[in-house]
């Protein structure tokens, strides 16, 4: 039997199919609407951190069936570009990660909601280390909850020291000793190995360097805390390190980029690396040799030797100023930071050390060996902490990298690079305040 179909019938049946499809989609949409959806975007330092973050968010969903959390996590670089675009389009995630410099940018531009009304209930930060709270504060208000306590450190491969009989520096040592140690390692290991990776393009150790000179990157009033002469001394230090063979030539160092797997220390080509402690677990996991950490130098030959390091929040969670359900976002933060189950899931094996004193103590006893090393390091810093890191401006890492590369490739003298750096920071600060 041949089936015949008129145009009218075809249209009728087509409409029915389309209608059915629309009903199905709409009903599913309505079901989805039964749940409150929260977008949580952020950056993570390692696979481990991503895994624990997703775990704690799943646990929150299990306890709150009416809530759906959409996780959007990536590396720092991808995250910042994406966040800027979304926030500009009025479609920022409800809650998102910030670091100390991004916090200043986003708080000043009205993107972040102040958390003042949620402190101390339910966000009781009284047991949080001052530096962590300070790095989440802008213009007197707290804008984010510190997820971790981090500090700048020198990661080192003890085996590379042992192999050639070079001594690891003592707890307190000078910047000159660091250079001597690096050069000794390079010379002892031979071609293709360097004592330390170039840290001149990193603003974090520069802050410690400046403090030993009685300055800092930024003042508590959010103005620049150093001048071109100080910056030139920093760039000159690393130029001397390169010239003496203590760190790789500029082209080799530039190759490492942002990728942990490309780092010289991971590839067995460097003995030391200046890094923040939140990368310790992730970088250690990529290495066959053990990894340890020590303080940066705390003074110069013939000068005063004083502890200039501090810990602060490397990764904090803030809430978008236009988030429709801020109370729910706060509750998710509460679960991650104060609920015993949430804290356990969020931090164990993540490489993050909680910013609270209790959290730090807990991971100092029950954490993995690597976590215990981190806790011991942070405890050491807290014996006599220096004033914490102060909010700066976005893109600071890029400015330092460009200045250091300009010197390393012979395009600028240390003073010229430092003058350009100071000018750029001042321009950014002015734009922020305008």
């Amino acid at each position: 039997m041949a089936a015949t179909q008129s145009r009218r019938n075809f249209l009728k049946q087509g409409s029915a199919v389309m209608g059915g499809f629309a009903l199905t989609v709409l009903s599913k949409g309505a079901m989805a609407q039964g749940k409150t959806r929260v977008r949580f975007s952020g950056f993570v330092e390692s696979e481990e951190q991503l895994a624990t973050t997703l775990k704690v968010l799943k646990a929150y969903e299990a306890k709150n069936p009416g809530v759906e959390i959409v996780p959007e996590f990536s590396t720092f670089r991808s995250f910042t570009d994406k966040l800027a675009t979304e926030a500009a389009g009025g479609n920022a995630p409800d809650m998102f990660s910030v670091n100390v410099d991004l916090l200043a940018e986003y708080a000043a531009r009205g993107v972040l909601a102040p958390l003042t009304e949620y402190i101390p209930d339910p966000l009781d930060v009284s047991s949080y280390q001052d530096g962590s709270v300070f790095s989440c504060t802008y213009d007197g208000q707290m804008y984010a909850m510190p997820n971790d306590a981090i500090a700048t450190a020198i990661f080192f491969n003890p085996r590379k020291f042992e192999e050639v009989g070079v001594a690891v520096p003592d707890k307190f040592y000078t910047w000159e000793t660091l250079q001597e140690t690096a050069v000794a390692l390079s010379e002892a290991h031979g071609r293709g190995f360097w004592g330390i990776e170039d840290g001149g393009g990193n603003n974090l150790p520069c802050d410690i360097f400046l403090r030993a000179r009685g300055k800092a990157l930024f003042t508590p009033e959010h103005t620049i805390g150093f001048d071109a002469e100080d910056g030139a001394a920093w760039f000159q230090y690393w130029e001397d390190m390169r010239q003496s063979g203590g760190c790789p030539p500029a082209d080799v160092q530039a190759q490492a980029g942002d990728n942990s797997a490309s780092l010289g220390i991971v590839r067995g080509r460097a003995g030391m690396l200046v890094q923040t402690t939140d990368s310790f677990i992730g970088i250690g996991a990529l290495m066959e040799d053990p990894l340890d950490l020590m303080m940066l130098p705390n003074g110069f030959d013939g000068g005063e030797m004083k502890q200039h390091l501090y810990d602060y929040a490397g990764n904090s969670t803030g809430i978008w100023a236009n988030a429709p359900d801020k109370a729910l976002c706060v509750d998710i933060i509460r679960f991650m930071h104060f609920d015993p189950e949430g804290v356990e899931l969020y931090y164990t094996g993540s490489g993050m050390i909680p910013a609270s004193t209790e959290g730090l103590e807990k991971f100092g006893t029950s954490g993995t060996e690597e976590e215990k090393k981190l806790v011991a390091y942070l405890r050491m810093l807290r014996e006599d902490p220096a004033p914490s890191r102060r909010p700066g401006v976005g893109g600071l890492g890029g400015m330092f990298r460009r200045g250091n590369e300009a010197v390393a490739f012979g395009d600028a003298t240390p003073l010229e690079a430092a003058e350009a750096l100071v000018a750029e920071i001042n321009e950014k600060l002015a734009a922020l305040k305008a």
Partner: protein
């Protein structure tokens, strides 16, 4: 008469109905943002707060000698200057070889076209990074067999842009396919006549192939020039989005992107974009104006 008019109107209506998806897309997703960007280029806009009209300030800043902007111009012009002729030359060379009636031509054509398909992709740029890095294959060979401790080609400012030019030249597939099609259009009679007149292969190439291929060369030249001015991905991936080392691969579009999304200077970035439109328009106009002196169309008589 009025029936014909009504029918014609109805037909136009139907035509517009079918065109509407494209029209909506063009007006909302292309023309709208273009005009929006034009407006933003005259404002101070940080992405988060409403734009503030500042007249020609952004353009004045550009002309006032922003050193990184000048650097991005230098890098981009150098890239265009070297990558376009190199790519076209290489594409023509391979097309000539493939045009000699090789067996399995389809296979070779696909193989040579492949890099172009992958060209813009992140994977190829990453692979390039591995090959030319300090401990990549090239340097491994140079050290093992020649004892030469070569630099890191992609992270040394003296060579970094050169490797990006090579990467562009390697992606010669698209112009090659067009050249190949053009070569196949040249009548065999021309070559036969030239041969009877005593022209050797090299003379045939310069006096028959090249003149008859000039419309294709012109088309490829214009398209590749425009594409090269807009290049972004190779530098973004190979330099980790920094344009480094020492801004040696800071493409124009990368600087634009950085201004917009790292420095939150969307107004300034829009002005940079519009200047690029102007640069491309000038380059294309010069190409068209020069065409009458060197492009020969078959119907010119």
């Amino acid at each position: 008469m009025s029936t014909t008019k009504n029918l014609s109107k109805r037909q136009n209506g139907v035509a517009f109905l079918f065109l509407s998806p494209w029209l909506v897309g063009f007006f909302l997703l292309t023309l709208g943002p273009i005009l929006g960007s034009m407006y933003l280029s005259f404002t101070n806009y940080d992405l988060f707060n409403p734009p503030v009209w500042t007249g020609f300030d952004n353009y004045r800043k550009l002309m006032g000698g922003d050193p990184r902007y000048i650097q991005s111009l230098k890098v981009t012009f150098t890239y265009v200057l070297f990558s376009v002729p190199l790519k076209l030359g290489f594409a023509l060379f391979i097309a000539l070889i493939l045009n000699r009636g090789l067996r399995g031509l389809g296979f070779y054509r696909s193989v040579f076209y492949l890099p172009s398909l992958l060209g813009g992709s992140v994977a190829v740029a990453l692979m390039w990074r591995q090959i030319f890095s300090y401990d990549g294959i090239i340097n491994h060979f140079l050290w093992t067999y020649l004892g030469y401790d070569a630099p890191s080609w992609i992270t040394n400012p003296d060579y970094a842009l050169g490797t990006l030019v090579l990467l562009a030249a390697w992606q010669f597939g698209a112009p090659m396919v067009i050249f190949l099609a053009g070569l196949k259009q040249i009548p065999q009679d021309m070559y036969d006549a030239a041969a009877i007149d005593g022209a050797r292969p090299v003379q045939q190439f310069f006096y028959v192939t090249i003149p008859l291929l000039t419309p294709i060369i012109f088309f490829n030249f214009v398209m590749q020039t425009i594409g090269s001015f807009q290049a972004f991905t190779p530098s973004y991936i190979i330099s980790d989005g920094t344009g480094g080392p020492a801004d040696s691969t800071l493409f124009y579009t990368l600087y634009l992107y950085e201004q917009a999304f790292t420095d939150f200077e969307m107004g300034y970035a829009s002005a940079i974009a519009w200047v690029l439109v102007g640069i491309i328009a000038i380059a294309t106009s010069i190409s068209f104006l020069s065409a009458k002196y060197w492009v020969h169309y078959g119907d010119e008589g």
